[in-house]
């Protein structure tokens, strides 16, 4: 027989480097054709930061994301933005890109202001076009603007930016510290179906609400949540790297079991997008927060479904059946709700 159940779990996660100062630096150039070069330690590992940074830069520089050229991450060619991890990419590098672009754009406005003889604040740019507020004649393409500034004024627009997140080290005895400036809160609900003939648990649905700050690209945030949840499903139900006397008995994917497309829940992402007040862009992150509540939500759901608590991961079919067997063998007193 199959039994359904639901479980809930909350979570939280501090983002960027733990208990140590974190930093990211960026260089920007407004380039020929109204394109933009951005040089930073961009560390695209699949989460989508490459595109996200281009969106941020495009927004700040008045061009399109496809006009942005991001330099390769190379210690000899770009400033330090440090590592791809700790859910720090959008938060640290995104903010640094915004700061660098705002500086560059400020210079552009000043230069165009001088060129058009208007106040810099009246100059706007978007989607490859620049114009003066309220003027019909003072408008041109970004491509032309760059050309004009270079050719006629000898001006190349460059900018730089730095974003620092101030964290303090842990007190060795009490752990007292400000390990991060920003936290991402979350909560997930899992709905499972337990087959008491085999102990198999299928996760049919997961709802995930995370406090991600301002969202640069919602499709990418969903992608991280979906990926984190499914990785969580794997950890909770099937993944186990086993060693016997130091030698692994799970040397490859035949024995180390990962979820396939057939094993995944439907995932509903709920994005809480209140901007982070401490940073220029108001962004936070999601890569790791997305996986923290999943295991407990599933395990709590298993209890709801069949009344057994799985305290050891992974809750494989064998362990679930053993728990059910033990439960049947133990007299269960009826409990009344308070």
């Amino acid at each position: 027989m199959r039994h359904k159940g639901r479980g809930v779990a909350c979570g939280w996660y501090g983002i960027a480097r733990t208990a140590a100062m974190d930093r990211a630096a960026v260089w920007v150039e407004l380039d020929d054709g109204g394109t933009v070069k951005v040089a930073t330690g961009v560390t695209e590992i699949g989460e989508g930061v490459l595109t996200g940074l281009c969106q941020i830069a495009a927004d700040a520089m008045g061009v399109h994301p496809h006009d942005i050229v991001l330099a390769d991450n190379d210690t000899a060619r770009v400033p330090e933005a440090a590592h791809a991890g700790a859910t720090r990419m959008t938060y640290m590098i995104g903010n640094a890109v915004a700061i660098a672009c705002r500086e560059a754009f400020g210079k552009f406005r000043a230069a165009m202001g001088a060129y058009w003889e208007v106040a810099p604040e009246s100059i706007h740019a978007a989607a490859g076009k620049v114009w003066v507020e309220g003027s019909a004649s003072k408008r041109m393409s970004m491509e032309h603007a760059v050309h004009v500034l270079k050719k006629e004024r000898g001006i190349v627009i460059v900018g730089s930016g730095l974003f620092t997140s101030a964290h303090t080290a842990l007190d060795p005895e009490t752990g007292a510290a400000t390990p991060w400036q920003s936290y991402v809160f979350g909560a997930q609900i899992a709905e499972v179906e337990v087959d008491d003939d085999t102990g198999e648990v299928q996760v049919l649905g997961v709802w995930a609400a995370h406090d991600v700050g301002r969202v640069v690209n919602p499709q990418q945030v969903e992608g991280q949540i979906e990926g984190g949840v499914v990785m969580g499903v794997g950890h909770t139900l099937m993944e186990d790297y086993i060693q016997v006397d130091g030698k692994t008995t799970t040397p490859g994917f035949a024995k180390y079991i990962l979820p396939t497309a057939v094993d995944i829940p439907q995932v509903t992402s709920v994005l809480i997008t209140e901007p982070d007040p401490k940073t220029p862009l108001g962004v936070k992150g999601i890569g790791e927060p997305s996986i923290t509540p999943t295991a407990a939500a599933i395990v709590n759901a298993i209890y709801d479904a069949v009344g057994v608590r799985m305290t050891r991961l992974p809750a494989t079919p064998e362990r679930v059946m053993a728990a059910l067997r033990e439960k049947r063998a133990t007299p269960q007193p009826l409990r009344r709700a308070a």
């Binding site: 027989m1 008491d196 003939d197 085999t198 102990g199 198999e200 299928q202 099937m238 692994t248 040397p251 490859g252 035949a254 079991i257 990962l258 979820p259 396939t260 497309a261 057939v262 094993d263 494989t316 079919p317 064998e318 059946m321 053993a322 067997r325 049947r328």
Partner: protein
């Protein structure tokens, strides 16, 4: 890594025997889907063979022929045929669900039914389904220049984990199975996930109803992955034949399966799942044969 001195692809059985005789230690291969993963670190490690003799292009091993009661499948038939061949679907419906649980789309195109049998893995998914179909294996070897053929029941052919009755330089050429057209059948498997999974327990069953007498006319039950070899559960079959199907009958038959678990590990789990599977599969098979029988509630098993 698998390396070898020679790779032969004979187009006739004679040419295959020529290769086997000329290169001592030559290894027969069809799909290579078991051999290549086996020759890797953590399993057999680097393996060097004097020769590979790939029989997948020999026409005799690729043919499927059908008569009213029996079907003959060439050993190099891909597992995918269990799903895709309309004749097999009609006459051996238990093979379809077995194939659906077998690895994935890609491997089903490459793995062969003969290779899966000769590999004789205790976890082999197709064996229980084939046992239910009274499968016989056809073998050929060459002695004194003459091709000698023999055949035997699949249950005699598989002798232990990785062990078969295959003689040296003998080739499995075909599989012959019963038609169970009109019967109801079912296949059950559990692994650690729902695709590309190794079986912890698997089984197949087929039932034929006698509507006039309102009872089970024939019944076949076979189990796999719970012991060194797949087996037919003759005791259960005897319990069921001639009986009117009922929830209690199915429950009692299923409970006798517990004693059949002979695996070296996870015995408690396998015992419990096997009993549940036999019951569940019988109910499914009966349903497909046209008779709905419900399952007794779980708790009654321990009453």
């Amino acid at each position: 890594m698998l390396t070898f001195d020679h790779y032969f692809m004979p187009r006739t059985l004679e040419a295959a025997f020529d290769a086997l005789e000329q290169v001592p230690g030559a290894r027969l291969v069809a799909g290579a889907t078991d051999l290549l993963p086996w020759a890797r670190e953590g399993r057999a490690g680097d393996v060097h063979l004097p020769a590979m003799v790939d029989v997948s292009r020999i026409p005799e091993l690729c043919e499927i022929s059908v008569s009213e009661q029996r079907m003959r499948l060439g050993a190099a038939t891909p597992i995918a045929a269990y799903e895709r061949d309309a004749r097999l679907r009609r006459m051996a419906p238990v093979l379809g669900p077995c194939a659906a649980w077998f690895a994935d789309d890609q491997i089903r195109e490459q793995a062969t039914i003969g290779g899966n049998i000769v590999n004789a893995s205790p976890a082999g998914d197709s064996q229980p389904a084939l046992l239910v179909l009274n499968a016989r294996v056809h073998l050929a070897r060459r002695e004194g220049g003459q091709i000698q053929r023999r055949d035997m029941p699949l249950s005699d052919f598989i002798q232990g984990p990785g062990k078969t009755a295959l003689h040296e330089r003998e080739i499995l050429t075909a599989l012959e199975i019963d038609s169970i057209e009109g019967w109801g059948s079912a296949f059950e498997k559990v692994g650690h996930r729902r695709s590309l999974a190794i079986s912890t327990v698997c089984m197949a069953t087929a039932v034929k109803l006698d509507w006039a007498r309102r009872n089970i006319e024939s019944c076949r039950v076979a189990i796999g992955a719970v012991g060194p070899v797949p087996v037919r559960l003759g005791e259960i079959e005897a319990m069921l034949v001639g009986q009117a199907p009922s929830p209690r009958l199915v429950r009692e038959a299923a409970q006798t399966a517990a004693d059949q678990v002979r695996s070296r590990s996870r015995q408690d789990y396998r015992r419990e799942v096997l009993v549940n599977f036999v019951e569940r599969a019988l109910v499914s098979a009966l349903s497909r044969a046209g008779l709905e029988v419900s399952r007794l509630p779980k708790e009654m098993a321990h009453a």
